[in-house]
Symmetry: D2
Subunit: 343 residues, 4 copies
């Protein structure tokens, strides 16, 4: 079985580590280069002790030419803002790119507003495809030919998967959406800030970036695209005292007169044949524990009939379906592998 060659730029963070873990046992991938700005020269196992004995790779300084020459695909797990320039060089040399940063997710205007003041490769934005495979018709065909995949944000993945069937089906008022999402601390990466210190984060819950988190415009852009109506999402992310996992509860007002069964049928149709979406039985609600270390998104649906409020609970592992697992799912589709291969 022929293998493709994959490289990881930025292999020392949590998403980089999770990518390594998945790709090391992927039957169709050979890992070629793993890079780090600050830890070049170290063995991977020094940074990720769980990989000791499983990976003999050494971290290299990022050399884009060398990587492009030796790789079919490169995963960019870099801090925001660094991807555009690197992606331009890589794709120019025929190396396809899966970018885990936010740099190719938004239109230029929104990007400038919420992220960097200047995008280093705006001409590439139209080459990039938003990599949420469960979402779009003809996605497989499109991604098979694309150069750049913008891998979605973790909160955005959880929220959009909960809301897409509803906006697509025209079932809800698009100005009534609230997403209340709780994330494990690994969502912040390895940043050393007081609020992520164990003694602060443990036995604690707190909201942050209330109604102005950067995944909010991402959710709105994608949902607006699907619904073809301007869609607002009031988004409140919260830190929960756990390492991994996102639980998002999405609320919206139903346009009457629709029953809960209609809503459920809408989801079933929308996600038919999607291997990573698990629609839970009536009355069962998702728990983050059931999706940890998997690429699944579990979805449970309820409503408050009195106020016609539909309630969709969705759970993912922020490092897998919310980042590295989804990146590999995208890779599988880019290269014509089975969607679930290695996941």
């Amino acid at each position: 079985m022929k293998k493709i060659k994959a490289s990881i730029l930025g292999a020392t963070g949590y998403t980089g580590g999770e990518l390594l873990k998945i790709l090391l046992r992927h039957p169709r991938v050979e890992i070629k280069h793993v890079t780090s700005g600050s830890s070049a020269g170290k063995k991977v196992e020094e940074i990720h002790p769980s990989l000791k004995g499983l990976c003999s790779l050494v971290l290299e300084k990022p050399n884009v030419k060398k990587i492009a020459a030796g790789s079919d695909v490169a995963f960019l797990a870099l801090p925001g803002g660094q991807s555009p320039k690197i992606a331009a060089s890589l794709t120019a040399k025929g190396c396809r790119v899966i970018d885990l940063s936010p740099d190719f997710r938004l239109d230029l205007h929104t990007y400038h507003k919420f992220y960097q003041p200047r995008h280093a490769a705006p001409h590439l934005l139209k080459e990039a495809i938003y990599g949420l495979p469960e979402l779009f018709p003809f996605f497989k065909a499109k991604i098979f030919h694309c150069k750049i995949v913008a891998n979605p944000g973790c909160y955005a993945t959880a929220a959009i998967l909960a809301l897409a069937p509803l906006v697509k089906g025209g079932l809800i008022h698009t100005d009534s959406i609230i997403v209340d999402a709780k994330s494990g601390i690994s969502g912040a990466g390895k940043k050393l800030e007081p609020m992520y210190n164990f003694s602060e984060a443990n036995e604690n819950m707190t909201p942050y970036a209330v109604a102005h988190h950067r995944h909010m415009p991402e959710m709105e852009a994608i949902l607006t695209g699907i619904s073809r109506r301007e869609t607002f999402v009031t988004f409140v992310p919260q830190l929960a005292p756990m390492t991994r996992g996102i639980l998002a509860i999405s609320y919206a007002k139903l346009k009457k007169p629709v029953g809960l069964d209609d809503v459920k049928r809408c989801f079933a149709r929308f996600y038919e044949g999607k291997p990573f979406i698990r629609l839970l039985e009536d009355g069962v609600m998702p728990q983050t524990k059931a999706v940890l270390h998997t690429n699944f998104c579990d979805i449970g649906i309820a409503w408050d009939k009195r106020t016609m409020t539909v309630i969709v609970a969705s759970a993912i592992d922020n490092l897998v379906k919310g980042a590295s697992g989804q990146a590999v799912q995208n890779m599988n589709l880019m290269f014509g592998f089975k969607e679930t291969e290695g996941l």
Copy 2:
């Protein structure tokens, strides 16, 4: 300084233990009797090892006559359904009652619908006062004379304190309220069920009783009473992997045209002089850690201006302001002590 005599019926659970801890250092209270159905004869420290050396009391079988004769006030920290009969006997003999169960919180009709099929002392419902001291005008005068205090539910406390100023001020649509609340596991008491086992609850978040939790009608009844309009609350409680603490995020649609500053002024006015409400500075959001082991409710306010959605985050310790601390706050007011005494 003269002391009142207080007894605790049901002293082995978490709320009973927290009550003991608070009352033991309360300068105006002498604890007279502590009872337990199943652990009578044991020393308190066998059940609550943290109280070793602080409390020499022995658990007794509940003897209502004896308790009534020897106590100025009795705290009922019993499983739901047991309080009415006991409260009837105690109050008949002049012993005042603070009931931590739901048995005196609701009107008879709602109680029958959500709790027990038959209330054993319906005539006492009109004697009972709902013990949320921050809420009502003339509360101090009323509670000073009342026989029975219905101590509010933990979720209800967090949600109502977040919403009362808004409904009182007529600022929001009363059919637009959503409360998304996360609780530590101690909210379930000492129940032995798989979902509360450490191996299940740790590294996990999950919603439960979605839109049909028993604290929902309690929130609705109180808010309806304040707003004098039928008020609905779409309530989704969730288990968070922590021992204590509730973080509630309440959402509602503002009736235009009101600014965020107006909203904040409304809260400041409503809670002026209330010692246990801490309104946080602009841009600061509550964290459960800051209220643990205290009787405070911390409140942070934000909005999504685009959809005129107001967002109120409130945090309490479910065992203190959500149960035993509030019970002692009520006791202080019943007996004319300083509201914060011993808290």
Copy 3:
């Protein structure tokens, strides 16, 4: 590639669930029957929601005849005391057995002292092999032909792997051994006891069964067998507030005059070629996080030269190398598969 047929008796507990997870992706295994006394008729995913979409098996009442007829090997993940009778029936019909209970680990005398008053199949004890593959010379040959594998206890695995090279090499006084081991709560299985409740176990550490835990005689019997000298282990297990993982610190007095390098060489020789033992670099100590969800045992070695005390820290995942992973490792060797297959 031909597959063997495996069944799991007692598939609803944590070790049963972990076995399922491993075997479902094992390329050489087809799972035939999964049984449960109390949950027969339910789908596996109802008990183990993480397996939804991965496993369509239905739990059956245990029917030993049917299982024996249809299985090459049966894993017994049953409460202690049930295995002997079942193992007798299964092996009589040619079905090999891997028993995760303590029922075949000890000699009859010690078993009667620490476990059940009566062993139901004492004649089978001599057919059973103690399944710690890293330990014994000729283990592969022996296990290839054996009928019953007694899968080691979790604490015993961590401690024996830390001590075996030392006693085998005659480096330590066999009456000086102390094992101080900390385990995640899943080690207790799904038992519903107050001490395993989240609200009790979280933010808590406590020793239990001090110097009389049942894995103590298991450690002593195996180490005595290896050292050919009566070996005592002072064993103090402790509950740590985590779901999985064991960290054991083993202490012993060195017979002088031996250097730390000699000790390390002894370990390196003893574990040469063992794929699941990771001896850490000088100065590096194991962390349970690095072995979670793996079959590795990480070992770090230090000493206090002043008192000639050697200190060996070993870390495993109690549900993998401490139970189900090791069971599959044993299965691999029983059937001549690669030792690491599927792990």
Copy 4:
């Protein structure tokens, strides 16, 4: 009731915060100055949000002259190495000092070996008293007149309290002592290092500074002083996934022939009348949860009779009895207050 004036230098860390919390409700103390190098000008509640509404103090740049002039006692909760110079200035002006750093705990030689290369006020070492009140005869008399209290290390407190009765009574071999201690992460203070990040520390246990931690010479010096024989402690500290609490298990070989009851009597005699030592009943072992937020040290005793190994488990809250609570206990004794006042 007359109050003394106390100041806290270094009030922004965890021990500083805990000191504030305790002193704010201490009936005999008025807090005068609270200082911070980096956060001067901020309100205390900005650093310690739990103190909002309880403390209106503003952090000041440390001004030793002003502090000395206005304070009866100063608590130094500063990083190691800063205390000697400050203590010299303060005591010269008659302000007594309780130093929570290691700077006055050891003799000069050991201090130079394990801590700073140069002690800035070596002449003051003989003025300092090691502040473990349960330990020494005539302690109350001595501390009442002393200028400087060296507040013990957290691990040292837990271990020494477990071992002092044994070495004082001559019951154990002083070269056989092992201390295996597990600490919550707050023991590391607010340091921002990867290992203290929630995502690393949660669901993890790991030893560190094995047999060379700085509290080891502190334990050895004190125990040697008590036993009047050179005493070695093989000390292995470990990080446990909890915020607070230390559980230390201390092991030593008994000099025969002594029974477990003799050992227990020895502890009972040694700790008679000590209000913060709780000797647990036979068969009961300490749990850190029972001492959280208290100044208690809980002690449980067992043995392995076969090898004459005594096992003493001790539990404290590292921030209270292991730091700030003990500091206040020392303050109470320095000023002739009741030992338990405010604790």
